[in-house]
Amino acid sequence: MSRWRQSVVEIQTRKRQVNECERAQAALSKVTACFQQMATSLGSNMDGSFLREELEETRTVAHKICSGLHRRLLSLLIEMEQGQEDKEQVERHWVIFLSSLENFQRDLKKVKVLQEIFPLTQRKDRQALINAGYAGGTSEVAARAAMVQTPWLSVEETASLDLKNHIVEIDVLLEEMFQRVNVPLWSVEPTQEAWVEGISTQDGGQEEDESLEDIMEVEVVSQNSTSGCCNHHNCKVGCLLCLLS
């Protein structure tokens, strides 16, 4: 019945909004993934104020996307009438958004705890940083996150929050979402089949992507053949302070 009432314009607007949400969701995924990648460096020898600034920026971007997406999805779902054809799609986006919010919140909590353990306020704190083996920074990752575009990113102004309040705000968001929208979460069917992601070849340049095991395997072989402390064939020194390496 309502279908006849809806004008063409309305349908088109709705479609556009749904697509917007989809793209925003992809962007959020990207940003949170980059955030996680950077968070793994916290507390390691590459930790520093630079890293933490990058983390902050990424977090702000994520926050903006989240707020916008939250508003739009909520309005879409509330407006939604029974029997609408994109109901399933919108619900799926809803579930994906909820999952990514929770995931992001977990990362935020971890980051908060790590920043407390490794405060970096004094010089001696740097000595406590874990020698995890990192050599380079995460600037590229941060840049990737910064490149994300969403329609409302530059337009809308959202209040910036610090970490603690951000975590609390996500709690509030989630609470609100569960209360205002009655979507049976388990009824959502995914579009992805199992194991499909391993088959697709959309990620180019996979030939050069050797498996971790291969890399480490080779290393093991070479390690066994050395008698010294390093792989230098002239090294006969049994101690670790060999200067040949």
Partner: protein, 645 residues
């Protein structure tokens, strides 16, 4: 969505994980450039990665730092590896510390085991999806299983998982090659710790979570009480052994296993006088029982008859309120939770308040504690007072009781039963009976067929044979198409047919049935009274049809159900006793049944079974061998008579 699990996973809910914080501190110490563990560079084909440490260095550092020996240091190092603070670069699945030149690296703090939250399945699913992308489906077996499980379990958020996995994979690729390798190693090590491959022992397995916060008030009180109950200062073994010896000497004669039980042990003689005499509230106790009361005050109180006697004594002494109070406290301690508050109040009003009707005399300090505790009553609030009163009774009243006329009266009246002198043999144990049966069976199986004429004397009288013979002839002309034998009682008759046709020498007994031969007369009667609908095949094919008939048609247990009562009647010849009548299975009926040497294999409870189409292979195999070797009767308790006579 994940069901929002607001449970706190802090250390107080996860016992035995308090060590994580300490391990973290040790790891931080190890980082010190001057005093920490020496690190070296790991050389790979494509690149070098810094901060690799050898196992022996770790062991040496720990031994030096904690002033322990190498073995202990190694154990501690293994623990650190098992928790995931250090991961091996070679042989990454075995989380142990090898004290040689094998390389390890520190785990980045992001991947440290945390106490505050559990490791989420969502993250594991994302990791597996990432691994799937990279390895293009070539995951290990247990990983594949986990993947499938997670796909089922988290189906509704699978889109999110795949999306996130792809994004994380691409984000990872942004980094420089050495860092990528490091990150991948770290992540892999993290999941080896938290989702161990099957068959490995995980250090993260700490047992059950506590469901209750042990810092809550009520729980604290409970814990304190229980701790006091089991608390014992350390005792020298000489002391404890002395206590054991004292106990055994005291109670030696009172133990029914170690000493003769008067009048007799019911388990041996089947006579329950002993139990009757020692009922909880018997009028006159036995002498042994009264003697036990003198052993200790606790013994007296625990015995209801003893307590009653003590109560009587206290009444005479006008100090019964002590015991009453003690009993009320016990009731409070072990009673239902809902009436607890009222009970506590009642006790206070009756025993403790000023001017209470049954006021007990406890010292001021205990009274203070009790009254304070009664403001928030719980089970153990009266514990201090109860202990005080118990000690009072023990030190004071108990001694006087043992010297009192009440006790002496009871002692005098106590009955000392005479020992039973039964000549009756105890019944055999079922194990022995079974052994006897087995022996009988073996004996019979070994021996040849029994003389038929002899048998007739034990089984039903001869006239029945004629009946059988008659039936047999009548049915001999029937067609073999009688496979659809109805569940009629006339089934049994073909048995006799079979017996007719089967020469005795071919008969074997695989007896597992205890048929009573007396069935036969009844069968005969039944079959005579009913119509014969099933003519068996002509004699030459009798063997063939018989087994079929027996299998199918003889599922008419209604006959047999009715047979049992008749069995006893019809048995006549003394030795045969059907199993259903007497509980004690005698071997003899088997012998009779054995004679007919027909294999029976049907459940003893005879119900009417639908006729089903049986396997014919068995059949044909039999006939191929020339004659019926095995006739499988569908019921167990069939005894066959020789119809031929």
């Amino acid at each position: 969505m994940t069901i929002r699990n607001v449970r706190d996973h802090g250390q107080r809910y996860r016992p035995r994980m308090a060590c994580l914080k300490k391990v973290e501190n040790v790891v931080l110490e190890m980082q010190d450039p001057k005093t920490g563990v020496k690190s070296q560079t790991q050389r790979l084909v494509i690149t070098t990665i810094p901060h690799a440490i050898t196992g022996e260095d770790i062991v040496a550092w720990i031994a030096n730092r904690f002033k322990t020996d190498a073995a202990e240091a190694r154990a501690m190092g293994t623990m650190m590896v098992a928790f995931g603070y250090i991961y091996p670069l070679q042989d990454h699945k075995r989380l142990i510390l090898k004290p040689d030149t094998s390389l390890y690296r520190f785990q980045t703090p992001y991947f440290w085991p945390a106490q505050q939250w559990l490791v989420e399945d969502t993250d594991y699913a994302i990791y597996l999806a990432k691994r799937n992308i990279r390895k293009k489906g070539m995951l290990e077996l247990y990983e594949q299983e986990q993947y499938n499980n997670l796909y089922k379990w988290m189906n509704h958020k699978w889109d999110f998982i795949v999306m996130q996995a792809k994004e994380q994979y691409r984000a990872g690729k942004e980094r420089k090659k050495p860092d990528r390798v490091v990150f991948d190693c770290q992540e892999r090590a993290y999941w080896v710790v938290h989702r161990p491959p099957p068959g490995t022992v995980s250090a993260m397995d700490y047992g059950h979570d506590r469901m209750v916060d042990p810092n809550m008030e009520e729980v604290k009180v409970c814990i304190m009480f229980i701790q006091q109950c089991i608390m014992r200062p350390r005792v020298k073994s000489s002391v404890s052994i002395g206590a054991l010896i004292k106990y055994t000497t005291t109670y030696k004669e009172h133990d029914p296993f170690l000493h003769t039980c008067l009048p007799s042990s019911p388990w041996i003689t089947d006579d329950v006088t002993y139990w009757t005499l020692n009922m909880p509230n018997v009028e006159t106790p036995t002498k042994m029982r009264v003697e036990r009361w003198t052993f200790s005050f606790g013994e007296l109180l625990m015995d209801p008859r003893g307590r009653a006697d003590f109560r009587l004594f206290l009444k005479k002494e006008f100090s019964g309120e002590n015991l009453a109070f003690w009993e009320a406290c016990e009731d409070l301690k072990w009673g239902a939770a809902e009436t607890m508050k009222e009970k506590a109040q009642q006790i206070y009003k009756t025993f403790l308040a000023r001017g209470a009707p049954r006021w007990i005399n406890i010292d001021g300090k205990t009274m203070d504690i009790t009254v304070k505790g009664l403001a928030h009553p719980h089970r153990y609030v009266l514990d201090a007072a109860q202990t005080h009163i118990y000690m009072l009774m023990k030190k004071d009243s108990y001694g006087r009781y043992l010297k009192s006329p009440v006790f002496k009266e009871t002692q005098k009246k106590a009955v000392a039963p005479e020992s039973h002198r039964f000549t009756r043999r105890p019944s055999l144990s079922p194990i022995i009976l079974r052994q006897q049966e087995e022996e009988q069976k073996a004996k019979l199986a070994a021996s040849g067929p029994v003389d038929i004429t002899q048998l007739c004397r034990f089984t039903a009288p001869v006239p029945h044979l004629a009946v059988y013979t008659g039936i047999c002839e009548a049915q001999s002309t029937a067609s073999p198409g009688l496979m659809t034998l109805p569940n009629s009682a006339a089934c049994p008759s073909p048995i006799s047919v079979a017996i007719d046709s089967t020469p005795a020498s071919e008969r074997r007994f695989d007896g597992n049935g205890g048929p009573s031969s007396s069935h036969f007369p009844s069968i005969a009667e039944a079959s005579v009274s009913e119509e014969e609908k099933q003519p068996p095949a002509p004699k030459s094919r009798m063997a063939l049809s018989l087994s079929r008939l027996l299998r199918r048609g003889c599922n008419a247990p209604s006959v047999f159900a009715s047979l049992s009562p008749k069995c006893a009647v019809a048995s006549g010849g003394g030795k045969v006793q059907p199993l259903g009548v007497e509980p004690l299975a005698q071997p003899q009926p088997r012998r009779i049944a054995n004679f007919f040497q027909i294999k029976v294999d049907i459940p003893p409870e005879c119900r009417i079974y639908p006729i089903d189409s049986e396997d014919e292979e068995d059949d044909s195999a039999d006939t191929a061998r020339g004659g019926v070797k095995e006739i499988i009767c569908p019921w167990e308790t069939v005894t066959k008579q020789d119809g031929a006579g």
